[in-house]
């Protein structure tokens, strides 16, 4: 019984903490936002300077939307709208 009470309090605390920290998924918050591989302006936010996909723990996306973002970025890369990596130069 004593164990129960002790295990109950830290769980509560961590829940409270998570709420204050959470960024939340912007796509869940706003239904009007669309994920489209052709609109690279919106996708740019989800890639780093070197062209890597920003992880979910940083972007704050939920699993579903992160998956869609990932799919969109890969499609955009395939058709040369987004780089695979920085430093492609022609000259």
């Amino acid at each position: 019984m004593a164990e129960r009470t002790t295990s109950g309090t830290p769980a509560k605390r961590s829940v409270r903490r998570r709420f204050s920290r959470r960024k939340g998924c912007r796509f869940c918050a706003d239904n009007t936002l669309k994920i489209d591989y052709k609109e690279i302006r919106n996708l740019r936010y989800f890639i780093t300077e070197r062209g890597k996909i920003v992880p979910r723990r940083i972007s704050g996306n939920c699993a579903e939307h992160q998956r869609k973002i990932r799919e969109a970025i890969k499609r955009a890369r395939n058709i040369a709208l987004l780089p695979f990596t920085a430093g492609h130069s022609l000259d």
């Binding site: 669309k34 489209d36 052709k38 302006r41 499609r75 058709i79 040369a80 709208l81 695979f84 022609l90």
Partner: protein, 115 residues
């Protein structure tokens, strides 16, 4: 019938008549294959994110069409054969065709002026 969306990148050296001929040719190919063209959007010449066939830029042509899944192979084979097309990608639109503003085309539009 399914709805597909195809983007092809036409070689930047193809200008004016040559370029139009390529676009018309592939429109013709699609109608020959019994596809129903829904939209053809020419984005114009844009900078590529990485060089493709040694080209730093290319003109994007977006085509949305309804077709049977069986013709996609043939269509892509034809695209591959044409030297004027340096890259292409076909995507299945699961939700069908939804009309929306072509905002993506704008970003590359001013790439022309940089040089």
């Amino acid at each position: 019938m399914r709805t597909y969306e195809n983007i092809m990148i036409v070689h930047p050296d193809k200008v004016a008549d040559e370029y139009n001929a390529v676009v018309e040719k592939f429109k013709g190919v699609l109608t020959d294959l019994n596809a129903n063209l829904l939209k053809v959007d020419e984005w114009g010449v844009r900078k590529l994110a990485y060089p493709v066939k040694k080209q730093g830029r290319g003109s994007y042509v977006l085509t949305v069409f309804e077709a049977d899944p069986t013709i996609i192979d043939e269509y892509e084979r034809r695209l591959r054969l044409d030297e004027a097309v340096i890259k292409f990608q076909t995507v299945l639109l699961e939700k069908g065709f939804v009309e929306e503003a072509a905002a993506a085309a704008e970003e590359g539009a001013n790439a022309e002026e940089e040089e």
